[in-house]
Symmetry: C2
Amino acid sequence: MTGPKPAQIKTPKQNRSRRTLERIVDASLELLATEGAEGLTIHRVVEKAGSSVGSFYARFKGKDDLLDYLAERVWTQALERWHADLAAPDWDEMDLTRTVETAVTLVIEAQRSRSAYLEVLDQANSSRAPAYEQFRTERLARLAEILMKRRDDIVREDAEQAVRLGLRAVVGVVDEERRSSDRLPQDVLVRECTALLAGYLGGAGSGESDSGVEFFDVWG
Amino acid sequence: MTGPKPAQIKTPKQNRSRRTLERIVDASLELLATEGAEGLTIHRVVEKAGSSVGSFYARFKGKDDLLDYLAERVWTQALERWHADLAAPDWDEMDLTRTVETAVTLVIEAQRSRSAYLEVLDQANSSRAPAYEQFRTERLARLAEILMKRRDDIVREDAEQAVRLGLRAVVGVVDEERRSSDRLPQDVLVRECTALLAGYLGGAGSGESDSGVEFFDVWG
DNA sequence: TGTACATCAGTGAACGCGCGTTCACTGATGTAC
DNA sequence: TGTACATCAGTGAACGCGCGTTCACTGATGTAC
């Protein structure tokens, strides 16, 4: 029940302490990745970072502050990367099906290339960091924006609502897939999710790509 | 990294100890529900149960055993309830769309009526209880079985794969919805998920119900 | 019905351990004159 | 260039607390004769 905080730390004034801070952050993320949330201990962190307990408390008010700070850094970074991913494709050139296909691929790729500590922070996120909420919200909002460019091809009555729900479906199926035991190969997943979403938004005729053979040429 | 165990406890031989065991289980679930996973402490459990520490250790080998035991009971019970839910509707009377609609409704209802401790056990399930896996697997398998009764109306090439993925999509979107801030009303969620899944499986013409007006009469 | 005994069940003080945190202290860095 | 001083940074032993677990003990229940 630790409320969401602005994650304020005592700012370093010398390069020496700035480097120490970085080492502490790196050690923390590494510990999260290898040992999980329960493995994150002040003593272990500072040992791994080659620092000391007192040094830690000169920077952070306590352990909660470290977690807030980590969450903020990590999710902000994830969001930035997401923005970069979204900026790459030339969305204006695509019809609805291709737009959906590209979006779906980005979502799946992003989930697949997640670092281990992101997984842990995503899982153990009862602490509800503001940056986490912002990441989740903005990710969907940006995707929805892009899909809404093809609004004229969407047959659902409430297009905005349909786009939001459809995107949640894709994110959800990928998440569900990750927790499952028998996973589908990535290309199948992309193809089927595209059919699912394009069919839902665009109705008949959008469910399938026009050519099954060169369907994946763009993605190698 | 506590491996999945058969959750064997020292079986009670008298009614007295059987009742004590029940009180301990009840207190544990109540604590999980109100305080979350971190609130589950042996001392707190036995206090709430009106028992004692030694009494607890006469039954369980340790805390891990309690968690295994709880998981097994809770997920087995959840699965039984799910089987009962699935047995109620007369699936043979339904066309594909209605089958999907009914299935979707059941999934959403089940998620909505989850008790608080189930939520916590679902979240904090890194301990990977076998009963948990069985619940997830069997739930989807049974649903898939039902949908495969309408196999002839499924246009997707690999029908089994499509059903599995489609169901994961529904479960995923409901899960995603639950974690989200702006939730859709339940009837909208049912309608849209039905359209999503029916459209995906059945292609054109299955995406919408034949009558928008009496669509929900069955569900009040 | 009564007594002796074995087993089951329950009690709560006590222990050890690991954790988050404090604190008295030393060393490094920057600035003023 | 050198000295004095303030501030920043770092150290690690020590503390208190809550947790899971142990253990010596008392009481309840069932059975044999």
